[in-house]
């Protein structure tokens, strides 16, 4: 079951409408998530990584629409087209939380402050499993214990404000994992946490992946996290996946200028004071006033005339694809 595809996204276009303007937040995004593997989606703020997650979970804001493309969930009862399900329909509600669960960035705002942690875990069990009241209670305690929360019998009745940041995030993972979902979507799960707590959470996610074969989609902006956790990686820029492939290929031999620039712009631990970092000039374009062709062209050092048109996705290798006109030069460069 290791390489079984759990979810396919194909040509997804999600547009968000505000103030009579349209933000083409996702403009043709394709990828797949495999069982027991971690796909990292990496990019800067505003590149559409969270919109991707929200599209899959059908948690988009009201004034937004999946305009085109397909999201297919390969569940135990055959494939389901998530994008065609009504957002609040029974089918979607059965999938959301049970089959595909999500961890949010900020555990302070994602947990409800007026309900106890135990209540919020048991709520999931109540709607998605046939467990009775006392079974639900003991299952909630078991879940908290497996997340490494001390004194779970006592903690289960406590409210979120009594938990520390790391414990809240673990409680949220407990909620997400309560029904043994097949896919776990984690939207920047450790951005609000300290590095030592982040290490604890990552350890936990690795265990889930190993023991339950959960497919994980991890959204992050930190290349370090990608290098440590990912099996596959997709680099996003302004609503497009510019480069995707196995982590070894993308990080070692990046063929898109944005991936290369991104890797060159971060200081890497252990490389000392003399390492050279190169800033990417300019800033991400205004989403309402996008460049015509390749979105990165304005900041790209390798711009040519053809960049005024959006390049197609090309396969560099069977599992490595890139969206750039000049990728061949970089691929040859990387092969050297």
């Amino acid at each position: 079951m290791a390489n079984e595809v759990a979810l396919t996204v194909n040509g997804l276009k999600t547009y968000i409408y505000t103030n009579n303007r349209c933000n083409r937040a996702l403009d043709g995004v394709s990828f797949e998530i495999r069982q027991g593997k971690t796909l990292c989606i990496v990019g800067e703020s505003g590149c559409g990584k969270s919109v991707t997650a929200d599209s899959i979970m059908q948690l988009l804001p009201t004034l937004s629409r999946i305009e085109d493309g397909e999201i297919t969930y390969h569940g135990p009862d055959g494939p389901v087209r998530i994008d065609q399900l009504p957002r609040d329909g029974a089918k979607m509600r059965a999938i959301r939380g049970k089959e595909i669960a999500m961890i949010f960035q900020d555990p302070m705002t994602a947990l409800n402050p007026v309900y106890s942690i135990g209540f919020q875990i048991k709520e999931m069990l109540k709607y998605h499993t046939g467990l009775g009241r006392s079974d639900r209670h003991s299952k909630a305690i078991d879940l908290l214990r497996s997340m490494g929360i001390p004194l779970p019998e006592k903690r289960v009745n406590e409210y979120p404000h009594l938990y520390s940041g790391g414990m809240r995030q673990r409680a949220m993972i407990a909620i997400a994992m309560s029904c043994n979902p097949r896919i776990l979507i984690a939207d920047e799960p450790t951005t609000a946490l300290d590095v030592t707590i982040q290490a604890q959470i990552f350890e936990l996610m690795d265990t889930l992946k190993r023991d339950h074969g959960t497919a994980i989609m991890l959204i992050t902006h930190d290349m370090g996290v990608v290098a440590e956790l990912a099996d596959d990686v997709a680099v996003m820029y302004m609503g497009n996946i510019v480069e995707a492939g196995p982590v070894g290929k993308v990080l070692r031999n990046p063929v898109h200028p944005y991936t290369r620039a991104l890797l060159e712009s971060i200081p890497v631990l252990g490389r000392g004071k003399d390492q050279e970092i190169k800033a990417i000039p300019g800033q991400t374009p205004d989403p309402y006033n996008r460049p015509k062709g390749c979105q990165f062209a304005d900041r790209c050092a390798y711009r040519i005339g053809a960049c005024d048109q959006m390049p197609d996705e090309t396969q560099v290798a069977p599992d490595h694809r890139v969206t750039c006109w000049r990728y061949e030069e970089f691929a040859a460069d990387a092969a050297e």
Partner: protein, 344 residues
């Protein structure tokens, strides 16, 4: 004044905040945000202050600038006019020194007044420090904006018209406006995207070279400190646990907390995957710090002595100047210490 002379000397600095409870706001305890710090900041260096949230790094930064007053201990500034104990000065006495010590805040969105134009925000310090005419101030603000790679005309626009990276550059321009000698950068690049972060880091380094500045760089990101800093002080629960040359910290980490902290950082280098040391539990509350070594409940090497005796910051031999660490066990090889078997 030699370049390596200390510009600031901190001696046993403590900042305690009272915890008030009940209707009558009775003081029931103290948050020991900074709990006895000895530190020299040398002229012209970049000193990194690193640690997890709640370790007191920001409070220490503010105590350096006297934005919070130390409960105990002294902060001494030495400049051309001799040494001055900042902690004993009143607000009027501090006025003269505020000009030399400035700060860049973490959040570029909340540190600029949205009702003021950029010129309005930047001219304030100039007016207080004797630039009398508006024309002169406009010229200086324009020059400042150019120094941080922004256009002169931006000064008549409002903060909401700028992106995060630009706002952070405006924050840096404001700190520079009255030509300080020392700037405290409190998580100055943490809120920025990586591609913008690199721009701001390079700007800070350029400005340092041009204007001969000293930085105290507060951050939780150890990859940034390694790139930027000359010396690094690692803080835990209000105390400095390790203080040494930046390269030395990475090559020869002494304190078990620094080791765990360094190993926990995800490294964007596939060839350098190291084993993570996962610390159990959370940082204890600074209201009730553990007895003895503050790190002992989470330490892998803990022995009985750690639970009762507070370790002093001791000096160790090192190829790169001094290397200080506060741990009882460093003289002995760490591997021989018993490993903790259960978590608290």
């Amino acid at each position: 004044m030699q370049p390596n002379d200390p510009i600031l000397k901190l001696r046993d600095v403590q900042v305690h905040f009272p915890v008030k409870t009940g209707v009558f706001k009775r003081v029931t305890g103290h948050v020991r945000a900074v709990d006895g710090v000895d530190l020299d900041v040398r002229r012209g260096e970049v000193l990194g202050l690193v640690g997890e949230s709640g370790c007191g790094k920001t409070t220490l930064g503010k105590a350096i600038l006297q934005l919070v007053r130390a409960t105990q201990g002294t902060v001494t500034y030495s400049g051309e006019d001799g040494e001055t104990e900042l902690t004993s000065l009143d607000d009027a006495g501090l006025f003269r020194f505020r000009k030399r010590l400035q700060i860049v805040f973490q959040d570029p969105h909340s540190s600029l007044n949205p009702a003021f134009t950029i010129f309005g925000s930047l001219e304030d310090p100039l007016r207080h420090y004797g630039v009398k005419t508006r024309e002169e101030r406009r010229k200086i603000v324009g020059d400042l904006l150019e120094a941080v790679n922004m256009r002169r005309e931006s000064m008549d626009r409002y903060p909401h018209e700028f992106s995060g990276g630009q706002r952070q550059r405006i924050g840096i321009a404001r700190a520079l406006s009255i030509e300080p000698e020392l700037i405290v950068c409190d998580e100055a690049v943490s809120a920025l995207d990586v591609s913008i972060q690199a721009q701001v880091l390079q700007l800070l380094m350029e400005l340092k070279r041009e204007k001969n500045l000293t930085y105290v760089f507060i951050t939780h990101d150890l990859s940034v400190t390694e790139y930027l800093c000359d010396r690094i002080a690692v803080m835990y629960l209000g105390k400095i646990v390790e203080l040494c040359d930046a390269e030395d910290l990475y090559a020869n980490t002494l304190h078990p907390y620094s080791q765990a902290l360094l190993s926990a950082i995800p490294v964007a280098d596939l060839d350098k995957k190291s084993r993570r040391i996962v610390l159990q539990g959370d940082v204890p509350s600074p209201v009730n710090p553990p007895s003895g070594c503050p790190f002992h409940p989470r330490c892998r090497y803990v022995v009985d002595r750690c639970k009762t005796e507070v370790p002093e910051l001791r000096r160790f031999k090192s190829a790169k100047g001094e290397h200080m660490a506060a741990c009882h066990l460093i003289d002995q090889p760490l591997a021989e210490q018993p490993l903790r078997t259960e978590s608290p």
